[in-house]
Every structure is written in structure tokens, then in C-alpha cells.
């Protein structure tokens, strides 16, 4: 991968280890994600993919190792602070705000870039009205881009499954991230929805000029869009490379299909 050596990578994991009691969920994982990168993270069940996600987003703290984002350490920061640094995520099981409308789901995510506080909300002065109008405009704009504007007033939980996934990505984008983490976005999707999803992820990357880290089981999706793939097995990174390299890597085949198949 020809990343420019002069600028620091967007995200750098160095020797990250995380232990839960006697279980080592991740051991000595070192990885880098550059600007405008589209990286896939695969591995068999229980390999530690979601743990790595939770590590990056601050849900877990590493037992050892360093995590740097844009050259600054993010170890010890709370999840909301990490989102503030520019890492947004979606969840394996969709976690929208079910009682809020589609519009409000996205609006909440604008919170980070909000100037006003309770005082403004209660006083309702012209500054408040201006900012609210501006945010409403931006929310509708992003909903229009992703063709969700017709659902703006509908409750989030009433959307079709594929649209809920899309809304979750839109909501994450509304925090204006530099790095977007997608946790199994294709889970539970039918083939048509998967094709749409691949198109969507490509579109997001190009339109918003951000990097994407994708955890996915679905090989069609991962091989189809990722420029680079990392493979985890038993908490260790066993391979990294282009989709072609990964497809033929004996260690990866062994992890997925067993030693016999690799020979």
C-alpha cells in the first residue's frame, strides 16, 4: 500500500493487547489506517474483531499498547470523546434511537458541533433559531443525499431493515468523522441489499473523503470493496494485504477452513 511516509497515519495501533482475566482477546495487534483508506477486517467467529472495534472506540481500554489517532494518543479517553476526535461507528445489532424520528436520530449526532447549550434552548433567542434552522437544513440535506428524506418524520424503528442500516451510517457521518468504523453492516442483508450497501460504502468514502474500517463476515462485500484486508485469528493479526493476497494466503485459508485445506 503506497501511503505517504511523510504524514502520520490516521490511526495507528501499536502492540495492542487486551486481556479479560485469563483470556487474551487481542494480543500484540499492530495496524495502521491511512487517509482515504478502505480497510476490511475479517476473521473467524471469536477472533476479536468486535473487541478491536471496542478498543478503538474506547469501550475497552488496552491492557498494553498504544492507540494513536491523527498523531495523538486516544488511550484512556471516553467513547464520546473519541467520537469527538473524529471516529464514528455503527453497531453490529442496529442501535438507532427507536423512539426518535429519523430526522431527530440524525439531529442528535450534530450535537458535537453544536454551539448552543441549555441556556440558548430555554431563552430561544435569534442565535438559537438560526442555529436550529441551519442544523435542520443540514440534516435534511444529508437525508436527501441518502434518499431518507421521505422518512424524515417517521420513527426510526419503523424503517425497513436496509434503510435502518443506512440511517445508522448517515447518523455516524453526521458527527463528521475522519474515520468510520462499520461493524458487520451486511449482517442479515439479502443479496440485493448487499450490492446497495457496497455501492453506499464506496459512495461515502468518495463523497466525504474519509477512511473506512469495515468488519464483515461476508466475503463478497469485503473482497468487493476493500483495498486492504487484515485478518484476525485468536486475537492475533495473521495476515494483511490486498484482497488477492488474502484470498491465496495459506494462513488465512487454514484459519477459515482448517490445516488440511491449506495444504
Amino acid at each position: 500500500m503506497p501511503t505517504a511516509a511523510t504524514t502520520p497515519p490516521l490511526l495507528r495501533l501499536a502492540g495492542c493487547t487486551i486481556r479479560f482475566g485469563g483470556l487474551t482477546a487481542l494480543s500484540d495487534v499492530t495496524a495502521q489506517i491511512g487517509e482515504l483508506d478502505l480497510v476490511g477486517l475479517i476473521g473467524p467467529n471469536g477472533a476479536g474483531k468486535t473487541t478491536l472495534f471496542n478498543l478503538i472506540t474506547g469501550v475497552y481500554q488496552p491492557t498494553a499498547g498504544a492507540i494513536e489517532f491523527c498523531g495523538h494518543s486516544i488511550v484512556g479517553k471516553k467513547p464520546y470523546q473519541i467520537t469527538g476526535c473524529g471516529i464514528a461507528r455503527t453497531f453490529q445489532n442496529i442501535r438507532l434511537f427507536p423512539s426518535l424520528s429519523v430526522f431527530d436520530n440524525v439531529r442528535v449526532a450534530f450535537h458535537l458541533h453544536l454551539f448552543q447549550g441549555i441556556g440558548h434552548a430555554v431563552w430561544r433567542g435569534p442565535a438559537f433559531a438560526r442555529e436550529e434552522k441551519e442544523i435542520a437544513g443540514q440534516v435534511m440535506e444529508i437525508l436527501e443525499i441518502f434518499q431518507l428524506d421521505k422518512f424524515a418524520d417517521a420513527s426510526a424503528k419503523s424503517l425497513p431493515y436496509g434503510d435502518q442500516r443506512r440511517l445508522e451510517i448517515v447518523r455516524a457521518l453526521a458527527t463528521r468523522p475522519k474515520l468510520l468504523l462499520l461493524d458487520e453492516p451486511a449482517a442479515g442483508m439479502n443479496p440485493t441489499e448487499k450490492v446497495d450497501l457496497m455501492r453506499l460504502i464506496k459512495f461515502v468514502e468518495e463523497k466525504y473523503k474519509i477512511s473506512v474500517l469495515l468488519v464483515e463476515h461476508d466475503m463478497q462485500v469485503v473482497m468487493g470493496i476493500c483495498r486492504r484486508i487484515m485478518v484476525l485469528d485468536y486475537g492475533m493479526k495473521i495476515a494483511e494485504g490486498t484482497p488477492e493476497e488474502i484470498r491465496t494466503d495459506p494462513k488465512v485459508i487454514a484459519a477459515y477452513l482448517g490445516q488440511e485445506a491449506a495444504k
Partner: protein, 331 residues
């Protein structure tokens, strides 16, 4: 629907200042006629207004933010004691002896100060309780807040300066309908404007899914504490109004069972539905008065009726009795 329509419709979040003004005019009219109202009705109306303040402020915590608090009466007690202490102990020192007759504005100013002191003391108590305990969820938070309510009661019982178990007596009768409903209007206004803003949607987001809210960059702990402190503040003011209406307060009046009363109102009105909660506060204030016609010991049956209401409600209308309008339509 074209997008410009959609954008215009979202202007609905900017309504309230005019409504606030209109409400104050109504309160003024009510205050003007309050002398002519039958004292029994005036008494019921006062209780109703205090219940509205308590329920609307509790709704911010239990309804909108989804943190189940059982200590709301404790904050009411803190506010009642603090404001009664101001009018009883500090008032006579700063007001000239014949104030009541000649300077109505002076007593009103003293009362306003006393209510604010009550509110701030309760808010401080809310901060002290909330900061460590809001990391707990569901049942655990309920237990902690319940315990807090009891602690407040025991503290007041053991401070001789505040009357100990006998409580404070001879509190001046400052509470009027205008004061009660004026405060109620402010409380409703603040809770509604807080929630109906981009910032305030965060309360609902915390209610819906804390993990997702955190992932969207919301400081969920801060949101919970803000809700708790604002809720406690208004409970404290309601306590001040209550004290200056009943003219004597004692620690037993702010126990756990009293908190349950307000929780029932919030559940009956529908969690996170302010108009519904106000309606429920009105109905549940009037209910015992009507029951009194048929039952001589209505007060004892009240809890039976409440429990019965709650069971029927949970079976038939879990969204609340007064959730008459679906806020969000489905696709």
C-alpha cells in the same frame, strides 16, 4: 412531500415564547380572582399546581431521560425546609415589623428569594446524589434514589434547629395560586424548551440507547446529571410552595410513599409526554376529592386505587393513559 415543506415544518421547535407570555397573563387573571374562589377549591387548585410542578419535573428525569428516580419527594423536602428556614429565620430579621400590612412587594420578594434558595438547595442535593449514582442503571438507580429520600428524611428528623421530628411550624402563608401556577408555567416552559432543541434531543437519545448516544459523541453522564439537577431544582421550589401553603412541614411528609405518588402520575400520563403528565396530575389530584364523596376514608383507599390503576394501565395502555397523540407517525 417536497423538502422545502419539510424544512418549514421544522419551525415547530421555535414556538414557545408567545405561549409563555399568554400563560403568564392567564396566571395574572387567576391571581386576581383567587380571593373570590371558594377556599376549598383554592386549596385543591394549589395542591394540583404543586403536583403539576412535581410531575413535570420528575418527567424530565424518569420520562425523557429514562432514569428511574424514586427520590423526588426527598428533593421536595430539601426545598421545603430550606425555603421555610429562610422565611422563618432570616425573614423577620430583614423585614420591618409591619411589612405584611404595608409592603406586599417586600414579602413577595422575600418569598421569591426563599423559593430560589429552596430550589438551589434541592439542586445541590440532586448534584450530590446524581453525580455518583447516575452511573447505575434501572433498579439500582431506583434503590439509590429511594435510599436518598429516606436519608433526607432522617437528617431533618435529627436537626433540632429544624424542629426535629416535629418539623417546622408557623411558616407564613405566602403561597398563592398565582405563585403556584406562575412557577408551574415556568417549569413546563423550561422542560419543554430544553427537550425541544437539538441539544435536548440528547435526553431522549440517552433514554433510548446509552451506548449509541455515547458513540454519537454525547456525554451521557452529563445529560443525566443535568436532567437530575433541573428536576431537583423544581422539586425544591415545589417544596417551598408546599411549605408556605400547609404552614407546617415535618420529615414524614417527604418520605418514599410521597415519591411514589409522583411516579404514578408520570407513568399514568405517559413517560416523556408533558401534556399527558399534566393531565394525569390534574386527574390524580381531583380523584381523591371525588372519592371522598362516597368514601369517608378516601385517603386510605387512594393507594388501592393507584395500584389498581397502574395494573390496568400496564395491561391496556403501557404508553400511558394520556398518550392520546402518537408523536411520530410510522411509515
Amino acid at each position: 412531500m417536497n423538502p422545502t415543506d419539510n424544512r418549514r415544518k421544522r419551525g415547530r421547535d421555535f414556538w414557545p415564547k408567545r405561549i409563555l407570555l399568554m400563560a403568564f397573563v392567564l396566571v395574572g387573571v387567576l391571581g386576581y380572582f383567587s380571593d373570590k374562589i371558594n377556599p376549598y377549591y383554592a386549596d385543591v387548585l394549589t395542591t394540583m399546581g404543586i403536583n403539576i410542578i412535581m410531575a413535570v419535573s420528575l418527567n424530565l428525569v424518569n420520562g425523557y431521560t429514562g432514569q428511574f428516580s424514586l427520590g423526588h419527594a426527598g428533593f421536595m423536602g430539601a426545598g421545603a425546609y430550606a425555603s421555610a428556614a429562610v422565611t422563618l429565620f432570616i425573614g423577620p430579621k430583614i423585614l420591618p415589623p409591619d411589612t405584611a400590612a404595608h409592603y406586599a412587594w417586600a414579602t413577595n420578594a422575600l418569598f421569591a428569594g426563599a423559593l430560589l434558595v429552596g430550589g438551589f438547595v434541592a439542586a445541590l442535593a440532586g448534584l450530590l446524589v446524581g453525580a455518583p449514582s447516575l452511573r447505575l442503571k434501572g433498579d439500582y438507580l431506583a434503590i439509590v434514589t429511594l435510599g436518598f429520600g429516606e436519608i433526607i428524611r432522617v437528617i431533618f428528623q435529627n436537626i433540632p434547629a429544624l424542629g426535629g421530628g416535629l418539623g417546622l411550624n408557623g411558616i407564613p402563608p405566602y403561597t398563592s395560586l398565582a405563585w403556584v401556577y406562575g412557577t408551574a408555567v415556568v417549569c413546563i416552559y423550561i422542560v419543554l424548551t430544553m427537550v425541544h432543541s437539538t441539544y435536548g434531543r440528547g435526553f431522549l437519545a440517552v433514554h433510548d440507547d446509552e451506548v449509541a448516544a455515547e458513540a454519537m459523541g454525547l456525554n451521557t453522564t452529563r445529560y443525566k446529571i443535568v436532567a437530575f439537577v433541573v428536576g431537583a431544582f423544581f422539586a425544591g421550589i415545589a417544596g417551598g410552595l408546599y411549605g408556605h401553603d400547609t404552614l407546617s412541614i415535618d420529615p414524614k411528609g417527604f418520605g418514599f410513599m410521597h415519591s411514589i405518588d409522583f411516579v404514578v402520575i408520570v407513568i399514568l400520563g405517559g413517560m416523556g409526554n408533558t401534556p399527558g403528565v399534566i393531565a394525569a396530575a390534574i386527574v390524580l389530584t381531583l380523584l381523591p376529592e371525588f372519592l371522598r364523596k362516597w368514601l369517608s376514608n378516601a385517603e386510605e383507599y387512594r393507594m388501592v386505587v393507584y395500584s389498581f390503576l397502574l395494573i390496568v394501565l400496564m395491561l391496556t395502555r403501557p404508553q400511558g393513559l394520556f398518550a392520546w397523540r402518537r408523536k411520530i407517525k410510522s411509515v
